[in-house]
Each structure stands twice: as structure tokens, then as C-alpha cells.
């Protein structure tokens, strides 16, 4: 029997986790109400699970809550699992650019599902709603929304125009911003760019930045280091613009344009304006 923790009934990553849960055994689902308080939520889940295996989504919250569960039960937790075969499983490392095959030495399995490793389950299950005991719990007391100035957020954008070392400078991003504006896209960047101080970390796409899953990811002057790919491989389509014909990014791209982005990006912007004008 498996208890699958859902963030909500229609949350995509949660439904993927349900697929994993169903593969482990008969699954039942829970959601938790009230302010987010990971330790308290975990205690409620532990009580509800009654010794069953427990599975959650590989989201920030899913990993956090399951880690609390694991600590409370003093059991091993396999985070971001992509496949299970009996007591052997595969999980991701390095944000997904490397896989680990491991053995879980435990009768009781605690796991989170790696995002997009499983298809979302179609099962219509009535999730039990848990009400955790929040006395003295560490809980969210407030929420702050950043002032995006009306710009679309990186995590939600349908299109991301992203720049890497090839852009050359902070000023160089102006042409990317122009294109992004036309496409209603968010502007992203690689870690090289944030380390150089050209863009804020909130623009960073990658293993330690934001993981995006837009319809289209346009990578300009980005070489394709593994930790960057970890952040954009969720994109449905990837267009890479790079002067190096053999840049690693092209191995992950659906579309390619070879050449200097400083010429190509403005040319695309101009062509788009023409198309819209017409």
C-alpha cells in the first residue's frame, strides 16, 4: 500500500507522483490543508500512512515534506526517482544530467518522483484531506510577491529568451529583452552571466537557478553546460543560437541557428515586427 501526497488534485507534478505511487502498490492519496508547515504536515502524513510506503512530488515542497517524514521515521528517502524495480531504483543526480542506480535498504519505501519522469496519472481518486496540528509548528507567516513590474515570471513563461557568456555584457542583453517583449517572454540567463553580475540571480536558469518548462526556450550564446541543461530540459522546444557549430547546446536543441547572436537576435526581432505589422 502506498500513500501518495498531493499538493493538490490537479497539480501536474503530484499527478506524476501518483503514477509512481500506483506502480509501487495500491495507492491512496492525501492533501493537506492550512498554512504550509513542513514538520507538522509530515507528522500528519506519518500518522495517516500507518506504515505504508509514502510517495510525493519532486517539487520543492514535496522534497521538503518527504524529508521531514524521513527524518521523523528515521528511514532512508530516495528523492527524485525516475524508475523503480523492486528494491532497486533510479534517481537523478546533478539536476538530471546524471543518473544513479541505487538500492533501498528498507522495508518501507519513501520517495519523491523526479519531475516529468512519469506521465501524470488519470486516476480519479478521492484524496483524504489532512489537518495537521500546528501548535508550536514552524509555519509560513507571510507571503511576499516580488515586484515584477508586470513582467511575466520565468517559472510561468510560455517563452523564455535566455542569454549566456556569448552575450558579452549586461548591456548586451538589451537585444534579448527587445525580442522577449515582442514574444511576451521572460528573459533568462546562465550561471556565468549571474556570476559576472550582468543579470540578477532571479533570471538564472539552471540546476541552482529556476527550472523552466516553457513551450519554447531560446538559448542565445549559451554553450550548454550540464547544470544549465538541468534547468531548461523541461522546455517543449529549444532553439539554440550559437556561433560554435558544435556547442553542446545543439545536442539538446530542436532548432538551430549558427552565427553571431548580436546579428541574429535583432534580425529575428525585425522580422517579427514585419510579420506582426503585416
Amino acid at each position: 500500500m502506498t500513500l501518495v501526497v498531493l499538493e493538490s488534485a490537479d497539480d501536474e507534478l503530484s499527478r506524476q507522483a501518483l503514477t509512481l505511487g500506483e506502480s509501487l502498490g495500491q495507492a491512496r492519496t492525501v492533501t493537506i490543508e492550512g498554512p504550509y508547515a513542513p514538520a507538522a504536515w509530515a507528522a500528519a502524513i506519518v500518522e495517516a500512512a500507518q506504515g505504508d510506503d509514502i510517495v510525493g512530488p519532486g517539487s520543492d515542497r514535496g522534497n521538503e515534506v518527504l524529508a521531514h517524514v524521513a527524518a521523523q521515521l528515521d528511514l532512508p528517502l530516495a528523492a527524485n526517482v525516475t524508475d523503480v524495480r523492486g528494491d532497486e531504483l533510479t534517481r537523478i543526480r546533478w539536476g538530471g544530467t546524471l543518473l544513479e542506480e541505487a538500492r533501498l535498504h528498507s522495508d518501507r519505501r519513501l520517495m519523491t518522483a523526479a519531475p516529468f519522469a512519469f506521465a501524470p496519472s488519470n486516476s480519479l481518486l478521492q484524496a483524504q484531506v489532512l489537518a495537521p496540528n500546528l501548535d508550536g509548528a514552524v509555519a509560513v507567516v507571510d507571503h511576499v510577491a516580488p515586484d515584477t513590474g508586470g513582467k511575466v515570471s520565468l517559472a510561468d513563461a510560455k517563452v523564455v529568451v535566455s542569454g549566456g557568456r556569448g552575450v558579452g555584457s549586461a548591456e548586451g542583453f538589451a537585444i534579448l529583452e527587445e525580442l522577449a517583449a515582442l514574444l511576451d517572454a521572460a528573459v533568462g540567463c546562465s550561471r556565468v552571466v549571474t556570476s559576472a553580475g550582468w543579470r540578477p540571480h532571479s533570471d538564472q536558469v539552471g540546476q541552482t537557478g529556476t527550472k523552466v518548462s516553457p513551450d519554447l526556450y531560446i538559448a542565445c550564446g549559451i554553450s550548454g553546460a550540464t547544470q544549465h541543461i538541468a534547468g531548461c530540459k523541461g522546455a517543449k522546444a529549444l532553439l539554440a543560437i550559437n556561433a560554435d557549430r558544435e556547442a553542446t547546446i545543439f545536442a539538446h536543441a530542436d532548432y538551430a541557428v549558427i552565427g553571431d547572436l548580436h546579428e541574429i537576435v535583432p534580425a529575428i526581432t525585425a522580422e517579427l515586427r514585419k510579420a506582426k505589422g503585416a
Partner: protein, 253 residues
């Protein structure tokens, strides 16, 4: 304030993962090493807090002998002291957390308790997302994870956790464990004198034995890769019309 930061030695990879012949590790003969990006921000934050209000920053790592290099790097940006738990083996999250908790308890007995324990949200390599939380439980401390904002004042910490649509805010009493994410701050580069000073800061190293693994790594595998054959839309600015066509086909323009 006494702050302890945990860091982990990880390789700096390029564009391609290459494994050793026995598939037990990444081939590192041509690679340099660093600490996980989240941890860089953690150490930077700790140093800033102590620079502002006094105290001590201790850096702790569980890793091979060479990991002393990472401790020295942290000292070069301001950490005062280091603890090195030496083991050349790969430890799982439970074992790691237990060893860290033991070391913290032992150190606290000598020099007093820590006000804040800072870790990375997850390590760059194993990415287990759990060591910080387990250490908190072992020490009986509250824990907040995934921080992009942190402010300590009067024995309390105001924590901003990355969440959908913005940040969730927590307010916890110290001592506490926090795990942080890159973006919390922009870490400094070490200066030459700082690097030289780092050489002589105290570093307490001791060997530790790894317990049996509960989550036992069997082997590493480089994923198949998308095997994508990108369609070349063109070269230079001449490709623009074709690109716009594709944008329209994809429904984004």
C-alpha cells in the same frame, strides 16, 4: 553569533559527464573542484552576518582529504575555523547527517552552542534534499529550507523561502538550521591576503568511519541524451524569416 556552515566538495563539470571505468564516480582527472553553489551563498551569508555583528563562522565538511582545499577556500572568504571529517567513501544522507550532528554536538561541548547552522538546500551532485532537515531533527532544532532571503536579529531569523508566485516568510527562534539557495547573495571572490591568511586558520581534521548505507549507490549512468538532431534554420541574420515561421508554427508568435 556562532554560525556553522556545512559544505561539500564537488567537481566542476564541463559540457559532458564522463564516468570512471567502474561507473562509480565522475572521471575527475581533468576537473577542478568547488563547493555546491547553494553552499557558496550560505558561507557568504554567514560571513556577512558575522562581519556585521561579530562572532565566528565555522565551516564543516565530510569528505576526502582533498576536501581540505574547500575548507581553505571558505576561510579565504572569511570563515574562521574548519572541521574536516575525513572519509574517502561516498556517504548516504542519513549517515552524513548523523556524522554532522555528532561533530556539531562535540564542537558545541567545547566552544558553546551554534546560533545558526547553514547548509545548502541540496548538494550539486547527489541532490538528496534532506541532510539539513535530518541534522535539525538530530539536534532538536527548527529548520527552514530553500531560503532566498535571511535576516537575523535579536535571537530570531526572518526567512524567505522560494515559493510559487514569490516567497513564503517564516519567523523562527534561534538556534535554528537553515538551508539556502543560490541567489541569496552574490558571493565575494577571495583576495590575495585573505588566501594567505586562510592557510594558517585552524583546521581540525579527523577520520570518520562510514556506517552501512541505507540508500546504497550501485552505479552511475549517463542518461541517453535526447539524441536530438536539431533542424538548422539557417546561418546568420538570413535565418530570421525561417525562425519566425517556426515561432508561428509553435504558436508563440
Amino acid at each position: 553569533m556562532r554560525i556553522l556552515c556545512c559544505v561539500k566538495r564537488v567537481p566542476i563539470t564541463g559540457g559532458r559527464m564522463v564516468l570512471t571505468a567502474d561507473a562509480q564516480a565522475i572521471e575527475t582527472k581533468h576537473l577542478g573542484f568547488t563547493i555546491s553553489p547553494h553552499e557558496e551563498c550560505g558561507v557568504e551569508e554567514a560571513v556577512r552576518i558575522v562581519e556585521a555583528g561579530g562572532g565566528e563562522v565555522v565551516v564543516l565538511t565530510l569528505g576526502p582529504e582533498e576536501a581540505a582545499e574547500q575548507i581553505r577556500d571558505c576561510m579565504a572568504i572569511g570563515a574562521d575555523r574548519g572541521i574536516h571529517l575525513v572519509s574517502s567513501e561516498e556517504w548516504d544522507a542519513q549517515g552524513t547527517a548523523a556524522a554532522i550532528a555528532d561533530a556539531i554536538r562535540a564542537d558545541s561541548e567545547n566552544t558553546g552552542p551554534f546560533d545558526l547552522i547553514v547548509m545548502g538546500n541540496e548538494s550539486a551532485d547527489a541532490g538528496g534534499y534532506q541532510v539539513g532537515i535530518r541534522v535539525a531533527y538530530a539536534l532538536g532544532l527548527p529548520v527552514v529550507t530553500g531560503l532566498k532571503g535571511l535576516a537575523v536579529d535579536g535571537g530570531r531569523a526572518r526567512c524567505e523561502q522560494e515559493a510559487p508566485g514569490g516567497r513564503d516568510v517564516y519567523d523562527v527562534a534561534l538556534p535554528a538550521v537553515v538551508t539556502v539557495k543560490e541567489g541569496l547573495n552574490l558571493p565575494r571572490y577571495p583576495s590575495v591576503p585573505a588566501k594567505l591568511r586562510a592557510k594558517s586558520k585552524p583546521l581540525d581534521a579527523r577520520a570518520v568511519d562510514r556506517p552501512a548505507s541505507q540508500l546504497e549507490k550501485l552505479r552511475l549512468v549517463v542518461p541517453e541524451g535526447s539524441r536530438k538532431q536539431a533542424e538548422i534554420l539557417g546561418e546568420g541574420r538570413e535565418a530570421a524569416p525561417r525562425v519566425v515561421e517556426v515561432l508561428q508554427q509553435l504558436g508563440v508568435a
